[in-house]
C-alpha cells in the first residue's frame, strides 16, 4: 500500500476531484459544532474539527431508513441503498466504532441493509487535530488506528500524509493530482502526531484497563451508584443517540394515503427511553430509570465485551457532552466503581468470534423480509384470544421445533413475535394463538380464513424434546396463554409417546372463561400416562374444579425429581413462585426449563429490545434451562 504527501493546494484539488466522481460525506461546521454532511466543495471540509454531534454511523445505520415497501395485499420488497460514497474525515475512535458495528451486523444473522451501505462506503480516516472537551480515546486505546479505514490522513505541518489501508483507498490515492513521495522525516512527524494523540486525547482518565470492565461490572450490579445517578436521568436517550456504538432500533409501518401501499422503516432507538423494554401487554421489563441507566453501562462494559470480545465504548465523549444533567460520563462511573473494587480479577479478554465469510447468497437475503402465508383456519378461543392455522404460500414446512416463535407481519401494522402452538409432527400447516393486546394482534383478530399474513422465522430455542426430555417424566406448568407454546411440546410428546415417561400437565387460568384448549385438555387427560390438572383464580357457579393459584396444584402431583424435566411458561409474575415450589419438591435447576416473554422486535438478535442483561431472548431463548439464567438478574 502506498503513501503520498499532499500540500494544501493538491489536497483541495483532490477532494474536489473525489466530489466530482462520487458522493462524498465530510465534516463541516454547524453553528459552533461539527457534523458529517454531504460535501459540495473542498473548502467546506473541516478536518480541524474536535468531534461531531452525531457519529458518522448515521450514514451506515441511518436515524431513519426505509427497510422495505409493502402493499396491503402483503407483498414486501426490500429497499437497499447501493450508492457508493466516501465518508471523509472519520476520527480513529469512530473508525473503531464502525469496525465494531460491522462485526455485530455481520455476526449470526447478516443484516443486508447495514452491510450493503457498509460495502459501498469508503472510509477516509483522519487523525485528530484538536481534542474535544470530553474525549477519552487515550484510555480506550482508540486515539490512533492501524486498520478499519481505507485511507488514513494525518496532518503534518501544513501538509497531509495520505496512507492507503486497502485497495479502495489505493484507488482514491491514484486520483491525487500530484503529491509527492513522503520523506523519512514525514513519517517521523506522523509518528510524533500519533504519540501526541495517544496522550492528549484523554480529558478523562479511566483508572482501570478497558478489558477489566467486565470483571469490574460483575461486582457492581447492586451498587448504589445506579440509583443515585439515575435520579437526575430524563430518560431522554441522548447518551444512546449520540453514541457511535449504540445500534438498537425500532421498526414501524406507515401506510400511504392510498391505503394500498406503505413503508416499513427502522429508526434508531435508545435503551434509556421509558418504554424500550415494554411488551404489547403493557408489562415493562425495565420500568425504573435506574435499571435503564445501569443497562447502558453494562452493555458497553460487560454484555457486548462478553459476547463479541470488545468494549463497546470508544471514548469519543459525545455522551458526556450530550447529557444535560452530567450523569452519562462512563469514566466517572467506572472509576467510582473501580475505587470500591480495586482488586478485581482480570479475566482474559474474549477473542473476537469467528465471522463466517459472506457469500453472495446471504448478501441477497433480507432477514427482515417476511414470506407470504395464508390463514387456513381462524376461530375465537376466548374473548381475547384467537386461534389460527397457517400455511406458507411457498408450500414448504415452517420447520420449527416445539417452543420456537415466529414474527407475524401485517402490512401497515408491523410485526409481533408469536409462539408456534402446533407440534412439528403436524405437517403442511402450523398453528398459533394470539391475544388481542396491541395494534397488530387487534388487526389479526379481524382477519378471516383465506386472508394473507407475513411470516418470518422460526426463531429462538426449543424445549429439549430431542435430548434431555427423552425417557424422562415430564411436568408442564402453564399459566394463561403460557399453554400456547407448551402445547407444541405436549402434542409432540403424545405423537412420540414411547420416547417419554409420564406427562403431568398443570394449567391455571384467571377465570373459567379464560381457559384455552379446554377440549384438548380433556383429551390429553384421557391419554395413558398423562395427568391433567386445572385450576382457576376466580371461579363462577359452573366451575367444579380446583380454585386458586397454579402453585396450589403442585402438592397434588407426585414426581420423582431426579427423573423429571419441568417446563414452566406463564405471565411474568408466575415464575418466581413456581420455581420456589419446584425447588422444594427437590427439582434441580438443571431439570427446569422456562419459556420467557420479552419484546422480541427483530427476532434475529439485533434490535436490543428483548435483552435480559446480556442475554438475547430471541436468540438464546425463549426457552432457557433455569440453571443457565439463574444469575441473569433481569430474567425472573
Amino acid at each position: 500500500m502506498s503513501t503520498r504527501k499532499l500540500n494544501q493546494e493538491v489536497f483541495g484539488l483532490w477532494v474536489n476531484e473525489l466530489i466530482a466522481r462520487q458522493r462524498v460525506v465530510g465534516v463541516q461546521a454547524k453553528e459552533e459544532r461539527f457534523v458529517f454532511e454531504p460535501l459540495s466543495k473542498a473548502e467546506d471540509l473541516r478536518l480541524d474539527y474536535d468531534v461531531t454531534i452525531l457519529p458518522p454511523k448515521k450514514y451506515l445505520l441511518p436515524q431513519r431508513e426505509n427497510l422495505m415497501a409493502f402493499t396491503a395485499q402483503g407483498e414486501y420488497e426490500s429497499r437497499l441503498e447501493h450508492e457508493p460514497f466516501i465518508l471523509f474525515g472519520v476520527h480513529p475512535y469512530d473508525v473503531v466504532a464502525i469496525s465494531q458495528l460491522d462485526a455485530i451486523f455481520r455476526a449470526g444473522h447478516y443484516d443486508v441493509h447495514y452491510m450493503t451501505r457498509r460495502r459501498n462506503a469508503t472510509i477516509v480516516a483522519c487523525d485528530v487535530q484538536k481534542a474535544s472537551a470530553h474525549v477519552f480515546a487515550s484510555s480506550m486505546n482508540t486515539a490512533t488506528v492501524q486498520d478499519g479505514f481505507d485511507l488514513l490522513l494525518t496532518k503534518i505541518g501544513d501538509d497531509y500524509l495520505a496512507d492507503a489501508g486497502t485497495e479502495k483507498g489505493e484507488a482514491l490515492l491514484a486520483l491525487v493530482p500530484g503529491g509527492v513521495e513522503p520523506a523519512k522525516e514525514d513519517f517521523a512527524k506522523r509518528e510524533q502526531v500519533w504519540r501526541t494523540n495517544q496522550e492528549s486525547l484523554g480529558k478523562h482518565d479511566l483508572k482501570c484497563r478497558p478489558d477489566e470492565l467486565p470483571a469490574l461490572l460483575a461486582k457492581s450490579y447492586d451498587d448504589p451508584i445506579w440509583e443515585e445517578k439515575a435520579r437526575l436521568c430524563f430518560s431522554c436517550g441522548s447518551c444512546n443517540l449520540v453514541c457511535p456504538t449504540c445500534y438498537c432500533f425500532d421498526v414501524h409501518d406507515d401506510m400511504n394515503w392510498d391505503m394500498q401501499t406503505g413503508t416499513r422503516t427502522r429508526s434508531c432507538d435508545a435503551c434509556l427511553l421509558n418504554e424500550f423494554a415494554a411488551v404489547a401487554g403493557g408489562h415493562n421489563f425495565r420500568r425504573h430509570p435506574a435499571e435503564r441507566y445501569r443497562h447502558r453501562f453494562y452493555r458497553k462494559g460487560s454484555y457486548i465485551p462478553n459476547k463479541f470480545g470488545f468494549v463497546a465504548c470508544v471514548g469519543c465523549g459525545r455522551c458526556i457532552s450530550a447529557c444535560l444533567t452530567g450523569i452519562a460520563n462512563p469514566v466517572e462511573i467506572y472509576n467510582q466503581l473501580y475505587a470500591k473494587s480495586p482488586d478485581i480479577e482480570t479475566s482474559e479478554q474474549a477473542a473476537l468470534p469467528e465471522v463466517s465469510p459472506v457469500t453472495e447468497r446471504t448478501l441477497s437475503e433480507d432477514i427482515y423480509a417476511p414470506q407470504a402465508a395464508t390463514l387456513v383456519q381462524t376461530r375465537p378461543l376466548t374473548e381475547l384470544e384467537t386461534f389460527y392455522e397457517i400455511r406458507l404460500d411457498s408450500g414448504l414446512e415452517l420447520g420449527h421445533e416445539p417452543g420456537q416463535f415466529v414474527e407475524i407481519s401485517l402490512p401497515g401494522f408491523g410485526e409481533a413475535p408469536i409462539s408456534v402452538s402446533s407440534s412439528p409432527t403436524q405437517r403442511g400447516t402450523f398453528q398459533m394463538v394470539v391475544r388481542n393486546v396491541g395494534n397488530l394482534t387487534n388487526a389479526l383478530g379481524k382477519l378471516v380464513t383465506g386472508d394473507r399474513i407475513g411470516v418470518r422465522g422460526p426463531f429462538g430455542s426449543e424445549f429439549p424434546v430431542h435430548d434431555v426430555m427423552k425417557g424422562r417424566d415430564i411436568l408442564l406448568i402453564c399459566g394463561g396463554i403460557g399453554l400456547v407454546p407448551v402445547r407444541s411440546a405436549i402434542n409432540y410428546i403424545l405423537d412420540n409417546r414411547e420416547d417419554y415417561g409420564h406427562m403431568t400437565i398443570l394449567y391455571g387460568a384467571k377465570t373459567p372463561a379464560d381457559r384455552i384448549f379446554a377440549d384438548e385438555q380433556r383429551d390429553w387427560g384421557q391419554r395413558t400416562h398423562v395427568t391433567m390438572l386445572e385450576t382457576v383464580d376466580d371461579p363462577d357457579e359452573n366451575w367444579h374444579g380446583h380454585v386458586g393459584r397454579i402453585t396450589a396444584l403442585l402438592p397434588l402431583v407426585h414426581i420423582s425429581p431426579e427423573n423429571t424435566i419441568a417446563v414452566v411458561c406463564g405471565p411474568p409474575v408466575m415464575y418466581r413462585f413456581v420455581l420456589e415450589e419446584l425447588q422444594k419438591m427437590g427439582m434441580s435447576d438443571d431439570s427446569i426449563y422456562l419459556s420467557l416473554e420479552r419484546r422480541m422486535k427483530c427476532g434475529v438478535g439485533k434490535c436490543g429490545h428483548c435483552q435480559m442483561n446480556g442475554v438475547y431472548v430471541c436468540q438464546e431463548g425463549p426457552v432457557f434451562q433455569y440453571s443457565t439464567i439463574r444469575e441473569v438478574m433481569e430474567a425472573i
Binding site: 459544532r33 454531534i53 435520579r231 435508545a270
Partner: protein, 248 residues
C-alpha cells in the same frame, strides 16, 4: 373501503390547529379520499349530527360548551382532541391562575359583563368527557395529524411518542439549546413535532405537554449547572399549563 364520517368542532382556541389541516393543501384531497368530512366549520358549510370520528379543537371554557362536548361524545364512536388547548387546556389555561372577574375585566374592559363574554375556568377536553386519542402541539404537526387519521381509518391505535423532544433533536443533529444558555423544555416535553422549535433555532416551549413521567426535579436541578434560576424554568412551564404544579 368504508370511509368513516368525520366531524371537526372548535371551542376556545385560535383555530390555528384547524388552519394546519387547511394548510395540508393538496393532501386534503388525499384526506377526503379516505374519510367523509361531514362537518367542519372552517372548511365547509354542511353540518351533520351523524359521525364516527369527532375531532375537537380548543379548550372548554363555558358551561354551555361542556354540554355541547357531551353531546358530541355521545354521538361519536371515537373522539380526538386536537391541539394543545384541547389536550391540555393550552395557553387558555393561564387564566385559571387568576381571579376570573379580574381576568374578564382585564381582557374585555367595560364589556366584560356582557352575557356572550361569559367565561368559566378553562378545561382540557378530557376534563369534561373521555378522549380516545390526543394530537398534541400548538399548533399540531400536520404529519402527525395525517398519521392519526390514516391510523383511525385502518383501525389502528396511532403511535404517539412518549419520550422527550431531545430524542428528535439528537436525530436531527441539532445543537442543544442549553449550549446557547437557553432554558429549553425539550427534556420533559413529549416529542412528535420533529423538534420543530429547536430545529429553527429556539428553545422548546413545551407546547405538546410533558411526557408521562417527566423528571421535573432533574429539570430544576439542571438550572444551576447552566447558571439559570428555577423560577425561570417554572415560568416557562406555565405557558402551556405544562404541569402547573411545577410552581410547587
Amino acid at each position: 373501503m368504508n370511509k368513516p364520517k368525520v366531524a371537526i368542532f372548535d371551542f376556545a382556541g385560535c383555530e390555528g390547529c384547524q388552519l394546519q389541516i387547511v394548510n395540508m393543501e393538496e393532501e386534503i384531497l388525499d384526506l377526503i379520499s379516505i374519510v367523509r368530512l361531514v362537518e367542519w366549520r372552517e372548511g365547509m358549510s354542511e353540518q351533520s349530527e351523524e359521525y364516527d370520528v369527532a375531532i375537537i379543537e380548543g379548550s372548554i371554557t363555558r358551561p354551555q360548551d361542556e354540554e355541547k362536548v357531551r353531546q358530541i361524545r355521545e354521538r361519536a364512536k371515537t373522539l380526538v382532541a386536537l391541539g394543545a388547548c384541547a389536550t391540555d387546556g393550552g395557553v387558555n389555561k393561564i387564566k385559571n391562575r387568576f381571579d376570573l372577574q379580574e381576568v374578564k375585566q382585564l381582557v374585555y374592559g367595560a364589556d366584560s359583563a356582557l352575557p356572550h363574554l361569559d367565561s368559566a375556568p378553562t378545561k382540557a377536553v378530557d376534563e369534561v368527557v373521555q378522549v380516545d386519542y390526543k394530537i398534541y402541539g400548538c399548533p399540531i404537526d400536520r404529519r402527525e395529524f395525517a398519521h392519526v387519521v390514516r391510523s383511525l381509518v385502518m383501525g389502528k391505535r396511532p403511535e404517539i411518542p412518549n419520550y422527550p423532544v431531545c430524542v428528535e433533536c439528537k436525530r436531527k443533529e441539532n445543537v442543544c439549546r442549553y449550549e446557547y444558555h437557553e432554558i429549553c423544555l425539550g427534556p420533559i416535553t413529549r416529542a412528535g413535532c420533529d423538534a420543530r422549535c429547536p430545529s429553527f433555532g429556539t428553545w422548546c416551549f413545551g407546547c405538546r405537554g410533558s411526557v408521562d413521567e417527566p423528571n421535573v426535579q432533574a429539570a430544576r436541578e439542571v438550572m444551576e449547572r447552566y447558571g439559570k434560576k428555577v423560577e425561570d424554568l417554572e415560568d416557562r412551564m406555565l405557558l402551556f399549563s405544562n404541569k402547573q404544579e411545577a410552581r410547587g
